[in-house]
């Protein structure tokens, strides 16, 4: 039969990965053809709502965690627990299992994720005699030293808002721990809680000291990279995809270093951000049987290995072949040892909340003195959204 697949792989590398994946799947299942509708990355996020209700395809690409929750509660995704059970995925995809589970059922399969962390200019660190910091104190000291040398310690571009989410996630994970972070993003804790304030206070230390790139609100995340390339900035908290852009900008592998976000509150186990991309079956699918075959195929170690090699990301399947890339290997090691994985602020929190939250983070990074007002506003949104 034919399965219709809607996805958001419009950038060149993901597009290539998908083309290969579909070709391989059709080779493995000669009876099945895949009709693939590829969407613009941003547009897809609203498009999915339309096609799921109006003219449902069989398989859709989406994201794990809270991001899939509205579709699950609206009954638009199909329960695929049987696919997990039948293919031993509970074991193989263990690291992402919790992110795919709602009400004890599995609602899709993950096929890729990637690590977040701090990328830095190795050569500059060496020049300034800085060791990659492991603790908050060391981190502050490193920043101070860089700043004194006329280098912006941390580059960032917050125009698209989401890069601020990374900072909040990590600060909150390190200050208050994974459980608190998940409760907060699930709307169970008020933003006026002193623990949230503590997180912001740590952030404020960086902001007030002027460690962030000055006009960050005007630029996109890519625009922040030339600062690093030109040696005007030294560190960048980003997802692994940033490496490619850095290399494009002219940095060599030797110049780029990767480190885990340093510890803040001692003793709190280190959790990481690792956004996971997934495939789901629409509940309105016409060809669910073949769609399940597709999901099973995507979950397989071979398919994941090949796909992620093209994507430059990490396979979720722990049986898959490890990547060769040094940064991915570092990430693989870090994530394998992580206490837990968060999906990212805008995937863990409800969409409305995420929007308000990230706007607030941006505002905080520009006007840290408005913290009280910001937190109150967030709390107002939380109270409304989660009721």
């Amino acid at each position: 039969g034919e399965i219709v697949l809607n996805s958001n792989h419009s950038d060149p590398a993901p597009k290539k990965a998908m083309e290969d994946l579909i070709a391989d799947f059709q080779a493995a299942h000669p009876g099945i053809t895949v009709k693939w509708n590829n969407f613009d990355h941003e547009g897809y996020k609203s498009a999915i709502r339309n096609f799921l209700t109006a003219d449902a395809p069989d398989v859709v690409a989406w994201f794990a965690g809270n991001r899939m929750e509205p579709f699950v509660t609206a009954g638009l995704f199909e329960d695929v627990t049987d696919v997990w059970d039948a293919n031993g995925l509970n074991e193989q995809l263990k690291s992402a299992a919790s992110a795919m589970t709602i009400d004890g059922k599995k609602w899709g399969v993950p096929y890729t994720y990637y690590q977040w962390g701090i990328y830095y200019r190795k050569d500059i660190f060496a020049e300034q005699g800085i060791e990659p910091p492991k603790t908050w104190a060391e981190f502050l000291a490193a920043c101070e030293k860089l700043k004194a040398a006329g280098i912006t310690p941390i580059t960032i571009g917050t125009k698209a808002l989401w890069p601020t989410g990374g900072w909040f996630d990590y600060l909150n994970l390190r200050v208050n721990g994974y459980e608190f972070h998940m409760e907060l993003t699930a709307g169970k804790v008020p933003y006026t809680d002193p623990r949230v304030r503590a997180t912001f206070e740590k952030w404020g230390e960086l902001v007030n000291a002027g460690y962030f790139l000055e006009s960050h609100a005007a630029i996109d995340w890519q625009d922040a990279i030339p600062q690093m390339v030109q040696g005007k900035a030294a560190m960048y908290l980003m997802g692994n995809f940033a490496v490619a852009t850095m290399k494009d900008g002219g940095l060599t592998e030797d110049q780029i270093g990767f480190m885990q976000f340093p510890e803040i509150t001692p003793g709190i186990p280190m959790a990481e951000d690792a956004p996971t991309d997934t495939f789901h079956i629409a509940s309105g699918a016409k060809n669910k049987d073949d769609a399940k075959k597709f999901l099973a195929f995507v979950a397989s170690p071979e398919a994941q290995a090949k796909m992620n090699a093209t994507l430059g990301q990490l396979p979720v399947n722990n049986q898959a072949q490890k990547p060769e890339d040094v940064f991915l290997q570092q990430g693989f090691d870090m994530l394998s040892n992580a206490y837990a994985l968060a999906q990212f602020y805008d995937r863990d929190a409800n969409a409305e909340m995420a929007k308000a939250g990230m706007e607030a983070f941006q505002e905080f990074m520009v006007k840290p003195d408005r913290l009280d007002a910001i937190l109150e506003r967030l709390e107002k949104v939380r109270a409304r959204v989660y009721n």
Partner: protein, 283 residues
């Protein structure tokens, strides 16, 4: 004539004016010139911080071919044409009919209907957004050029009706009466007498609607999501997300997207301005 013709001024003022003209134009079009320059800049210039100096070389060919090869902009432009051309035809055709009806016949609700069309022109799109999107979804035209065409036709009909009606009102009514006395039916009057005389209005409206619809961004984002139906304005914004920091590509893409309406404007300038300035000069 006001101001006093420069020919009557002193030679000093006259030559001063002639010098001022190009300078003023240069300043006025500075953003555009900047973008045009950037679009032919080698990528290296940007990295080197040479954003608005003299380009180190001419990379127009590379940049523009890169835009077409590495992005679906060609496809977007095709989509834009697929939306724009049927809209122009549809809106102009419908408004010829409505304009004729409102200009030629006396009936009670005539003015009311006319003002309904006029008012429709000025309402904020946002008030239509949710229901129109819903309607388009239900009809299965969501994410198709057809969905955009239908909406644009309906909406532009309002503006075009205003224009057409006033234009036909300006035609000598005796033409129509004369034909009536000759035994010509109402449809024949429309078809054989009024329609041929509306050619200038049709031309003006076509150019105008073409530009409006080509430049539409809002509805393109509301009614279309996927690449396969996305017109170039929305596409350009999507590409802008992709090409961050690649200003030479963004610039080239912008210029490519702007080209068709600009060409249209320069080819049909008279009609374009006639359409825009409708009503601006008479009481």
């Amino acid at each position: 004539m006001f101001p006093t013709p420069i020919q009557k001024a002193s030679p000093l003022v006259r030559s001063g004016y002639k010098v001022m003209l190009p300078i003023a134009l240069f300043l006025w079009l500075l953003p555009l010139i900047g973008v045009a320059l950037t679009s032919v800049r080698p990528a290296g210039d940007l990295a080197a911080g040479n954003y608005f100096g003299i380009p180190s070389g001419f990379a127009g060919f590379e940049n523009y071919s890169a835009v077409f090869q590495n992005s679906p902009i060609g496809y977007y432009i095709l989509n834009s044409f697929k939306v724009t051309i049927p809209t122009v035809i549809g809106a102009v055709a419908l408004s010829c009919l409505t304009g004729f009806a409102l200009a030629v016949y006396k009936f009670k609700s005539n003015l009311f209907l006319f003002f309904l069309f006029v008012a429709g022109n000025f309402i904020p799109f946002q008030i239509l957004m949710v229901p129109v999107r819903d309607l388009t979804l239900k009809m299965g035209f969501y994410d198709t050029t057809m969905g955009l065409v239908l909406f644009h036709v309906a909406f532009q009909t309002g503006f075009c009706t205003l224009f057409m009606r006033n234009f036909i009102k300006g035609l000598p009514f005796a033409l129509i009466e004369s034909a009536r006395v000759e035994g010509v039916s109402e449809w024949q009057i429309f078809r054989h007498i009024v329609l041929p005389l509306m050619r200038p209005a049709i031309a003006a409206l076509s150019v105008l609607v073409f530009t409006f619809v080509w430049n539409d961004y809002f509805w393109a984002t509301v009614l279309v999501q996927g690449q396969h139906a996305m017109p170039v304005t929305a596409g350009l914004n999507a590409l802008n997300g992709q090409w961050v920091a690649a200003w030479h590509l963004v610039s080239a893409g912008s210029i490519v997207a702007a080209l068709p309406p600009v060409a249209m404007f320069f080819l049909m300038q008279k009609h374009f301005i006639a359409g825009l300035t409708l009503g601006a000069t008479k009481g």
